[in-house]
């Protein structure tokens, strides 16, 4: 084995003697690579405090903490991640999972500090030497820990739907719902924003667990109208969904609908069964069977109260039934939610108008508390010349008649004034009727708000256009031209801005830019007001009102200045279904608090 070569060979590397000895490079003078995973940076204004970084950190190195300078608001918890460098392993999974892309790791990796407390810090808030470092690890563009694209829902195409009132959206299949539910990161930003604070991540998780019954139970804790809300909710939750910052928000509304759709009405009693509620003999009257009235009734029954609803119209649902067209919300789905609420022992009397068929003071005498949730059913008029013509209608009144299957005028050419969802509802409903009657659609909807600023949901505008309605926004109505007692059309001028510098409603116009929309019939849809004439003057006087004459209530209990009178629904906030559901629930608790005092 040992040869002379083996003795001499080692000496042949003598040249190494002349080299500077190097083992590893001096870390103090060596910059980290461009994508080095060094110390944390957080763009504090971009971060929304969703806490997804905290959830993924396997070392529990992140705690979400309050920061004095950041207030919580819709879409922002107000918390920010605090990192503990006694635990962090610089894996950067927190960076990869960050929903907004605010979190990064700089390429700085040396830091000496004598105070151990400094090693727990809030990146972006607590100043650190590497705050301005430009290089470091950011999540690569083409890699995601969760899909950013939403699962689209099968729906009727314009040519299939433009002549009928059949529901447009077909609902998710099991597989689609699973894929969509899987995208949720369970941050709960949605729950905080939802007026009813529904347990959204929880019911979405129930879908992932293929347990829709559990999902239904979770929904009923805060919302007894899941079929309805699963279709037409204004989904504030989706607007703030943390995934919406870099991709599509979770389809929370459709997932809610999916759960409710999966459980047949006949199974509700079984699925939602609860331990028997202790009944009491206190009686509550609810005026109006809209979302707020129904929600209050349901939760009051859960608390054991004897509840009776007085409804002016023939069926329950309020605006949900008499405002929203069937292609968005089929009546049988309303019935499904309503039936379950009524099955809980809620007494309801239809076709009774309080103030006419029964007096308000009688209610006060007969019941321990009264909840007013009559909504906004009185259409407002633009009061421009010509609005007194018989072919000028209020959208809300036409929608009600359509629901009731009453005959309405459907002219060949129609103009709708208004840019909100109700305007879209009547435009699309009349378009369908025109299509059926004349084989073509000639309807124009016009609003003060310019394109892109209309209050209606974007999908409503898009779908209306797909159905051949013309949406021509950005005009102020001036006059309905009438010749020989027949409407000729609507004269409009360009609207420059709807609000003034202080943000108040105060439209400004360019009178020189005029347009004329030909029509035989005009529909006004510029908003609705409440009709509270049924509250007798002696009570009305005792109610505290704000500067605009609206009744003031306690924001937590919805109790008015008359202790036995609670007011909610669209009269107080919204207008939309979910606010009604939420304040109906709160009023139920408020009434319970009042009666158990």
């Amino acid at each position: 084995m040992g040869t002379l070569k083996d003795i001499l060979s080692p000496f042949s590397v003598w040249k190494q003697v002349l080299k500077e000895p190097v083992t590893i490079k001096d870390p103090l003078n060596r910059a980290g690579s461009d994508r080095y995973r060094g110390f944390h940076q957080n763009e504090i204004d971009r971060c929304i405090g969703c806490g997804t970084c905290e959830a993924i950190c396997e070392n529990e190195a992140i705690d979400m903490v309050g920061v004095a300078s950041i207030a919580s608001k819709d879409g922002d918890s107000g918390l920010r991640p605090m990192v503990d460098y006694g635990r962090c392993c610089w894996c950067a999974l927190c960076v990869d999972v960050c929903t907004t892309g605010s979190l990064k790791l700089s390429n700085v990796y040396t830091w000496v500090d004598t105070d151990p407390d400094n090693f727990r810090f809030i990146p972006g808030i607590d100043k650190k030497p590497w705050d301005n470092a430009e290089k470091g690890y950011v999540k690569p563009d083409n890699y995601e820990l969760y899909p950013l694209e939403r699962v689209s829902m099968d729906h009727l195409h314009p040519e299939e739907r433009d002549h009928s009132f059949i529901e447009i959206m077909k609902g998710y299949s099991d597989e689609e719902a699973l894929i969509e539910a899987d995208r949720c990161v369970s941050c709960g930003i949605c729950t905080a924003t939802c007026p009813a604070h529904m347990g959204i991540p929880e019911y979405i998780k129930a879908i992932r667990n293929k347990d829709v019954e559990e999902g239904l139970r979770i929904m009923y804790e805060t919302n007894p109208l899941p079929e309805i809300c699963g279709r037409i909710c204004t989904h504030k939750c989706e607007t703030v969904c943390s995934l919406g910052h870099r991709g599509d928000p979770i389809s929370i509304r459709w997932l809610k609908r999916y759960i409710a759709d999966q459980v047949p009405e006949s199974a509700y009693a079984d699925v939602l069964r609860q331990d028997s509620v202790e009944q009491n003999d206190k009686k509550i009257a609810i005026i109006g069977a809209g979302p707020a009235g129904l929600s209050a009734a349901y939760y009051l029954r859960q608390l054991g109260y004897q509840v009776k609803i007085y409804e002016k119209l023939q069926a329950a649902g309020g605006m949900m039934r008499y405002g929203i067209p069937e292609y968005r919300l089929p009546y049988d789905q309303i019935d499904k939610d309503v039936n379950y609420i009524l099955s809980q022992g809620v007494d309801i009397q239809y076709n009774v108008e309080v103030g006419k068929d029964i007096s308000f003071s009688d209610l006060h005498k007969q019941y321990n508390a009264v909840y007013v949730a009559t909504g906004l059913h009185q259409g407002r008029s633009t009061r421009i010349p010509g609005t007194d013509h018989k072919s000028v209608y209020q959208a809300i009144e036409l929608l009600r008649k359509i629901t009731n299957n009453e005959e309405i005028e459907v002219a060949e050419k129609i103009v709708v004034i208004g840019g909100g969802n109700v305007a879209m509802d009547i435009t699309r409903s009349l378009a369908r009727m025109q299509k059926e009657k004349y084989g073509k659609v000639q309807i124009i909807a016009t609003s003060l708000e310019a394109e892109g600023k209309m209050p209606a949901d974007l999908e409503e505008i898009v779908e209306a256009r797909e159905e051949n309605a013309t949406i021509n926004p950005g005009w102020g109505p001036r006059e309905i031209l009438i010749e020989n007692d027949k409407i000729k059309g609507l004269k409009v001028v360009k609207c420059l801005d709807v609000f003034d510098a202080e943000g108040r409603f105060n439209p400004s116009f360019d009178e020189s830019e005029e347009a004329f929309f030909e029509a035989d019939m005009v529909v006004e849809s510029i908003g609705q007001g409440a009709d509270l004439g049924f509250i007798a003057p002696e009570f009305m006087e005792q109610l505290e009102k704000d500067h605009r004459g609206r009744i003031m209530v306690d924001p937590l209990t919805y109790q008015s200045t008359l202790p036995w009178l609670f007011v909610g629904g669209d009269i107080i906030e919204g207008p939309d279904v979910i606010h009604g559901v939420a304040n109906g629930h709160k009023a139920a608790k408020g009434i319970d608090l009042f009666l158990n005092k």
């Binding site: 040992g2 083996d6 190494q16 690579s33 995973r37 997804t52 959830a55 083409n142 995601e144 369970s186």
Partner: protein, 397 residues
């Protein structure tokens, strides 16, 4: 004192200690023939914390009992309480110097059970990191081997070379030691611009050093004198003791997972299994040195074949919610020390039911080492351990 009295071993080392009828060694400490010596848990000849309780008779080991448990880790148990994705920062710590095999095996287990695909480029990048890991692993090992018998300078050259590879790791993955680069569906980041050229420069420098290391260390009378014929692994033990990797190949076994069960992109690479016959410390050392040189060639091949375009990772479902249907899988890869295996059992939940890590160190570093220590000279214990190339953290997974 005569020589015979001073060395009572009588030339035949296998005679002591005598084996009792129950099969255990008859070591009577009160006879003053034996002393106990703890080798470790902190000892420069050990990569990581582990102790060998030696019983010496003179300068000769008559019994060696391995003691692990100094690292208090329990990775396998910890993994059962973390979501699948959360285990990536954990698995890379099971074999500290070679995180990538852990990442690869664990990710592949998940992919096997969920059907997640890995795009072509992602697979090439995985193969690249696996070979880079081998290169730096062997370089570190040379440092250990040389250091164990006093060739500190060689160890420093080797570690300098390893640092060059770590520079490339840092550039590619963002981390020098813990790369956390391989994730379900591919790898986390694309290859940076100009990486190949920088790597080539490093490889040339390493080749230069390897020439010197060969002259100074492998063609060295002292090293040969110390290692040839010492630490012999009988080929007959290979199956009984689960010996794999260079330890088995140096005993003549032509077995390399990369060839026998090709995975990643190995089927598209041109290389042969290295084997040798003499199965002693020198043979194993030299075989690793040869494999190291082959690695350099493999890295070049991989970078030549690396696709310019294409995704490095596929689209995956939400990793925060990943549930794996009930099932089990075993994934193996060839690390510097042989077959590295992950056995994963899923129960349909978001957490692994069981992950079993089969690292070569377990067999080499415990059962085999205890067998080989007997009758070894105390001065050779460190180099014997290093020649088996074990990582204590991997034993305590």
């Amino acid at each position: 004192m005569s020589k015979k009295e001073f060395f009572p071993m009588d030339g035949d080392r296998t005679k002591y200690p005598e084996i009792k009828s129950d099969g255990t060694a008859d070591i009577d400490l009160s006879s003053h023939k034996y002393i106990k010596l703890w080798h470790g848990p902190n000892h420069p000849g050990i990569t990581g914390n582990m102790a060998v309780e030696l019983t010496l008779c003179g300068d000769e080991v008559v019994e060696g009992i391995t003691h692990v448990g100094y690292l208090h880790r329990g990775f396998e148990k910890l993994m059962e309480r973390r979501k699948y994705i959360q285990n990536f920062p954990l698995v890379c710590r099971i074999a500290v110097p070679e995180p990538d095999y852990n990442e690869y095996n664990y990710a592949t287990c998940i992919e096997n059970l969920t059907g997640i695909d890995v795009p072509e480029k992602g697979m090439w990048l995985r193969t690249l990191t696996l070979e880079m890991a081998r290169l730096q692993g062997f370089l570190m090992w040379i440092g250990g081997m040389a250091g164990a018998i006093g060739f500190g300078t060689v160890g420093q050259w080797a570690n300098y070379c390893r640092d060059l590879v770590l520079d490339r790791f840092e550039e590619l993955t963002g981390g020098r030691i813990y790369h956390i680069y391989i994730l379900p569906g591919g790898v986390r980041n694309d290859i940076p611009e100009g990486f190949k050229d920088r790597m080539e420069k490093n490889l040339r420098e390493i080749e230069g050093f390897m020439k010197d290391i060969r002259r100074a260390f492998f063609d060295n009378y002292v090293f040969k004198k110390r290692s040839v014929g010492v630490g012999y692994i009988d080929p007959a033990w290979v199956f009984d003791y689960g010996i794999v990797g260079p330890n088995a190949r140096a005993a003549g076994f032509k077995h390399d997972i990369r060839k026998n069960y090709p995975y990643a992109k190995y089927a598209e690479l041109d290389f042969e299994i290295t084997t040798a016959k003499d199965s002693d410390i020198y043979t194993r050392a030299f075989l690793r040195f040869e494999e190291l040189l082959k690695d350099i060639d493999l890295i070049r091949q991989i970078l030549d074949k690396m696709p310019e375009k294409g995704d490095h990772i596929s689209k995956v479902s939400n990793m925060m919610n990943l549930k794996i249907p009930a099932g089990e899988t075993y994934v193996r890869s060839e690390c510097t020390r042989g077959e590295y295996g992950y056995y994963l059992v899923a129960d349909g939940s978001e957490y692994p039911r069981r992950v079993n890590v089969r690292g070569p160190s377990y067999t080499h570093g415990v059962a085999l080492l205890e067998k080989m220590l007997v009758n070894v000279n105390i001065a050779d214990v460190a180099q014997l351990m290093v020649s088996l190339h074990t990582y204590p953290p991997e034993i305590e997974r």
